[in-house]
Amino acid sequence: MTTPADGPPLEDQIAQWRMYLRRRTAINDPDVDELEGHLRDQLAALTDAGLARDEAFLVAVKRMGNLDALSREFAREHSERLWKQLVITPAADEAGSSRRAEAIVVLSLAVAAALAVKAPALFGLRLSPDQEVPPFYFRNASLFVFPLLAVYFMWKRRWNAVSGLWLVLPFAAGAVFANVFPWETVAVDNAPKGRDTEVLTMLHLPIALWMAVGVAYVRGRWFDDGGRMNFVRFSGELAIYYVLIALGGGVLTLFTMMMFQAIDINAGWFVGPWLLPCGAAAAIIIGSWLVEAKQSVIENMAPVLTRLFTPLFTLLLLAFLATMAWTGSPINVKREVLIGFDLLLALVVGLVLYAASARDPQAPPDFFDGLQLLLVVSALVVDGVALAAIAARISEFGVTPNRVAALGENLILLGNLSWSAWLYACFLRHQGSFAALERWQVAYLPVYSAWAALVVVTFPPLFGYR
């Protein structure tokens, strides 16, 4: 028998048919093998009956049935596969060996992160269940894990070692500025308490170093906006996975305590100094791996939550403004009020960012975009009212590192949201594209890190390490 001159050879056609089948989640590899066997038997019978090979192929595929109907039937019989795909099975086209290699790398890095948390104990900085955690651990929290996470992405994105060495710089700098300043440890009720600027370092260093992780994540695609947006998506998904893992870890911890209590053994020495810190560190690596493995499989959660909460937060802000206007009660400026409004603005920026991450930039404006603009504008108004109230009394407060940091952050977020509101308005009036808003958001990302780095580097000496 000869292969006809026109059309691809039979084996290619079969391979292609196999590929179409394999894309259906409900049909797994053994099923495809079985169906291919059937197809080949059918082909053999048809060619024996005198059909040309390509005719036989057409007839055999036709008799096999419509792929959609077929995969529906398989899905009905194997409905569990539709779910497992979301939870366990990695992408189908990935080779088994590379999957295993990745699992080994990830598990090693997770163990390394857990050990990194325990390493300071070798130098006398112990974690113990009856004592407060030394501030050293909080200052360096991000340094235990983020470098290892960067290593994971460098391995995964196949960085070459030389350009990878540049990434050592931010982490080394972070380690220096987290530990070089002479904060005195104050003891309150025998428990060490961080100084103000020390606490600021604890809060800002992770934000600054997260950008270094981002550089490892995007690998040279930093200035393609898609790269940074992907990192934003990754960050959101990681946060969600991390919360889920933490919930599971909490249950594990409770059971550990409860069960050992039942036999009169206090497991506190294990849970406090070992299980919690090591688990918290390792979970970041594991969570990142899950996000990487799932990105093509599961619908991203962060945009879903954004859709859910954007209307609710808009409602809250409008109700707040309406109530304030109705009752005329001014904002009661207390110590923490500025930080509260910072968090509100950060949340609104997050909602805008994740709404943008899930949106098709080509699509025309819809109702949800109007809602976003309403959210941003009402957040701006609320923040403006709060800032005015604070400004009126700023002299009473005096300058403290916390207030300067909070004010700086407020202005940075305000800047972002004001321009976002403008871009949204242009977009809604069909005078601009959504892509401009997306570009603005990702272009703004380094500002957060730069400010955080500024706080870490300059605030302690500026405010005399208080």
């Binding site: 053994p30 079985e34 066997g37 019989e77």
Partner: protein, 112 residues
């Protein structure tokens, strides 16, 4: 003759079980046997047989094993189990009732 989908689906289980009761077999051969038995009147879409076989396997009515076939390829062979034979007997009784009932009313219609 175009058979209704429901009827084809309903008859699939007893047919497959009955064919396997004749001896172990595999998908393609089962389809061929159905064709022979029905004189070509009962046409299944080939692929649809496999979800049926997998369901019977899950229910424990048949057992499956991958074996080398005569042409050297791997092939999944199905064998009827004890539970499958019991199921086949039940189905036979049920179909006989349907058959008898229909026959009864159609005979009456013809003689009336």
């Amino acid at each position: 003759m175009d058979m209704s989908k429901d009827l084809v689906a309903a008859s699939a289980t007893p047919l497959v079980l009955a064919i396997l009761a004749e001896g172990d077999s595999y998908g393609y051969a089962i389809i061929k046997r159905v064709n022979e038995l029905s004189g070509g009147h009962l046409r299944w879409t080939d692929g649809m047989l496999y979800p049926v076989l997998h369901r019977l396997e899950r229910q424990g009515h048949v057992a499956a094993k991958w074996r080398e076939s005569e042409n050297g390829r791997k092939r999944k062979y199905y064998r009827i189990t004890k539970a499958g034979r019991a199921q086949l007997a039940t189905q036979q009784r049920q179909w006989r009732v349907v058959d008898d009932t229909l026959r009864g009313i159609w005979m009456k219609a013809r003689t009336a």
